[in-house]
Symmetry: D2
């Protein structure tokens, strides 16, 4: 429990490196010791040995499923969807054998009970099953570990595979010496063993239902160098900015960004409009979730705590400022006020996700 | 997780004091984060609301029960008997109602599945059920909270009851302002509500089976001022010493104890023999479970680290030394050696529990 | 000891808010309990009451000064320059009175003993003395706390002053509701009381000596919105990029940055050359000082762990990449390699500080 | 900072075991980070290398000495007497040489400045100086480390010495394989090197002044197996009980103790009177300095939280109860009340230190 950098120190990693198979998931967790039980992977003992499950997503019918399981006499010890999924997998009527076909049946049964939303890794003995819900709501992709020596070299595509990695975001591959292999498809059940990646089945959506990839991955969750649906997130964001310039051009002296996820869109907008891209704000890196506002003064300061103002860059100018989204709408308005009081002649603002979602 | 004094600080207690019902259990736990899941009480969500279980004891048929539960599709997330008990209670086929009769049936069903050993507190809504296994292996007793003003006064027996407490050992009552009320009987199911203590049932042992109260409670687990089976532990220990004096008198100059649990027996032995009771060892309070023996010297020192020697008290004398038990037998022999090298003329030793168990 | 966000939690801040005067300094500290003694401010008891000193800089003649103090019989308990400064201030021969003139004499005496480098805050009773060494090596500036209501408003320059703040960098003022007032000059001794800021003296450098402001503040230490010597750091960095474009133009398709401190220079270079500014790298925020590289694979990966590659943005293009400085020169070369292997046609690189220092 | 068992874990001890010389002192410290600076040993850099000082005692003229040092320009960074002593040793006018004679002069100079109370260990290079103030207020004694193999054997007095240890209390020697060698005398300066223990000087008290050994060491500070002034503490305590029986005999049925430091006196009293020694209270080991009393009930309970009552042992009997001292007098009175309410017919009580000090 805690930040990754705190939990995985030299000692805890040393223990992990004796094994050659593992899964995990970083959750946004609320503080408090009681939440420790929600840490992933969720592990249960079954007649077929331990099952471990890592889960990204939220079950839309969790309440109903909890009641159904409890009606069968299963006591649930956490409030997490992950326990629910794990118990559902364990609860499937006892199978005669524990072979691949049984696992396909088991997972399809789960998909039947709860069609969305989840990307799952299920570890059992020496196999990992990677599963995406039929609507493809959460991302999941596969990378190939290649020898480091070959990694950046010409012979890369011919290299021997040293192992497989599965991740929500492909950006993580480069930093461990893996290369992007492919996405797990919506509804796909993939079996991953030491040397092999094998599609067991692809469960379709009900006819007529569209896929439902989470738009906020493109807008601000994902790192810009990740690839979803065959396209780099950065490129999607920049194209949104270009499209915005076509749909909503503004007479201005410069285009800027609310750092940092809106920067690709701002650069796209600026380029399409032929206006200079200029930085007007810089982030205060010391303002995080743990920032304390112990007195009236600091509580009133608002965005001035989060951003520094590069006033020399925009004094007397007309500024177009691009933000990544309007979730609560409580950030852009004080930023406009701050820029004007710091000398901007005019400030126009756009939120890119409005475009994306429109 | 951790020592009681560390876990229950001012902050954590403040949170507890808003409620008026609670259970817990202090386990001997091995270190390591994975064990946190074994902390008690064990809580599960059921169709009838949360059930919390605190459990003292070890199920003799735990392995078989685990397999049985898992065969019904319940995944178990810890290695603890307490989860087993909790899931067994939850797994009982759905009842039409959630009244007292259902709970009696539920607990009797549990007793049927696993006859020993456990003392249980089961909390559900505003009721606590206190249960002892039919063999009475682990102790459990009930105390009555009385107004502090009346507590040590004459009118004590007539005082209004402010609440009920249940404990493994009655010694805890005095220190929170409660008085001893009675023992929970072997096999008894007691329902405790705000003002009432009510016996729901007493499940008998199979005919011919004797009770099986854990002898080590008398020998050294319990605090001497606790009451089991109507007798003070201290008195039992002293009587053992007296009986030992009758069965095995020794010609000696003085009688002493291995502090501290053997002291009542040593005093009983001394009194019965008419020999003076004298202290020959004093405990080194800094030697605990966490004591580190980082070099050869300290590893070789043995009992000399645990005890100081009061040599003036026994130089040139014949010493009888009473210990509480011979569990591993690796303590008394070096103590005898230490006393002789420190000037004792002769050393005889007895272990009281041999008598008790014989 | 520790990160600011860890040390100053709600509880510790509550204790601070009862007072109205305080100093501190964030050091780069090595880990280990023994270093706690080097935490600032350094406080000593003297005949004139407590003196607290916060100190930014390194004394060039520390070794000689330590010997000198010890020869007078003062035992030093830490290895820090700050204790040295504090003891030098305390050691000044006893003064008849403790008035402003004494403190000027005391501080000038210190400047005489050690001309560089330090920016100091000395707290004594209800006064803070702000001092910069005559060479002006480390920055120091003063801000004025104004009522939050007035802060961003028109009447700001006429607002009542609510207090004074002194900081190495002016960027900190905005985020606490203060406005930039002025720099402390090289050699200046400033006395700050509740309502007043007063220059007591300005100690000159030896004739002919130039000032020696630390160039790395401009290059990468400072936050870009800070003001040194009357100019915004961001503007200096951008002008360096523009000057670089004049002195070393390159035929290329795009200009980019090694994020983040080189971005102003890259934008300046791009603008001057008339080339598009494009992002080619994104930072991996999880790689910090605490990042662990437990196996061969991760140790060999180098910059691929620190940066993600936005390959769509530069495939087949000629890239000019601007870095902030060449300190060890071990970053830019693997970045060039990484970009070329990710598809760049040509990569030219510049380090801005070479220009600055040239 | 913290309890010994917490501070000295396997890791920190491993670091210590590479050296062969060390000093330390366990203080009663108040909580809070600021107190860390008072941890011992106190170490300062001087022209003659590092000096480390461990100090037991309180300087009676500390305030005057602090002013004297500060008047010479030495800033003191802690509130501890130990820093004062260390700076006084460092402040001695520079000596021509750093030989034994210089150290004798240095320490005698210190004794001249502050005659009481302290037992000191001064570590410098490869020598430890052990010093007791001329009044002998705090104890200090020397032990000899002998080969563990020989330790409990016959040839013990002829064994080779493996090293020397110095301690406030001789009880610590047995548990590390050392044997008691001798006490450091009041005013004695002892030089301890690898193989040799040498008296450098014995500074006398002013004529007519008596020694002033702290009586509370005998009464309750010391462990009963420690030796002061040639006598075992346990024996002194028992003789006090015997003397009490002579001076103040009581008609009673039994004699008991407030556990644990009064037990020797109670046994002495019982034996002298010919009355049986019986235990009437047992300690609640969970009540420590950290015990929290979060509600009215627990605050009112008083001694009932600290002791269990062995009522079977004294019901209807006349009890003489012996306590170790009356410091605040707020313990014995509620104990008497508790015993009477638990069935004692009469309770007489004595405090042994009254006798000792009378």
């Amino acid at each position: 429990m805690g930040l990754i950098n705190h939990v995985f120190n030299a000692d805890s990693l040393k223990k992990l490196y004796v094994s050659n198979l593992g899964i995990g998931h970083t959750r946004y967790s609320t503080s408090g010791i009681s939440e420790l039980q929600n840490c992933q992977p969720f592990v249960v003992e079954t007649l077929h040995g331990k099952i471990a499950v890592a889960h990204n997503g939220e079950l839309t019918n969790a309440v109903r499923l909890r009641r159904k399981l409890m009606r069968h006499g299963v006591g649930l010890s956490t409030s997490s969807d992950s326990e629910l999924i794990t118990q559902l997998l364990a609860f499937t009527p006892p199978l005669e054998n524990d072979d691949t076909a049984d696992w396909v049946a088991r997972i399809k049964n789960l998909m039947n009970e709860t069609p969305t939303s989840y990307s799952l890794l299920i570890m059992h003995k020496d196999i990992i099953y990677a599963v995406r819900d039929p609507y493809g709501n959460r991302p999941l992709c596969i990378g190939r570990l290649i020898p480091v020596g070959d990694m950046n070299g010409k012979g890369k595509d011919n290299s021997e595979t040293e192992g497989w990695v599965v991740s929500s975001e492909s950006c993580s591959f480069l930093s461990i010496g893996a290369e992007y292999y492919r996405e797990v498809l919506p509804g796909e059940i993939v079996k991953i063993s030491r040397y092999d990646v094998q599609t067991l089945d692809v469960v379709p959506r009900p006819e007529g239902d569209p896929s439902a990839f989470c738009i906020f991955e493109y807008v601000y969750f994902a790192r810009p160098d990740s690839i979803f649906e065959g396209q780099m997130v950065y490129s999607v964001r920049r194209r949104c900015g270009q499209q915005l310039a076509i749909e909503a051009p503004v007479e201005a002296d410069l285009v800027s960004t609310v750092p940092e996820s809106a920067t690709p869109a701002a650069l796209g907008y600026a380029q399409k409009c032929g206006l200079p891209y200029v930085e007007v704000l810089c982030k205060n890196r010391y303002v995080g979730r743990t920032f304390i506002q112990p007195n009236m003064r600091l509580r009133q300061l608002g965005v001035a705590k989060k951003f520094g103002v590069l006033s020399d860059n925009f004094k007397g100018k007309r500024v177009v400022i691009i933000d990544d989204s309007i979730v609560r709408g409580n950030t852009i308005s004080p930023i406009i006020k701050l820029l004007r009081e710091s000398g901007a002649k005019e400030v126009s603002s756009f939120s890119v996700s409005t475009i994306v979602m429109g």
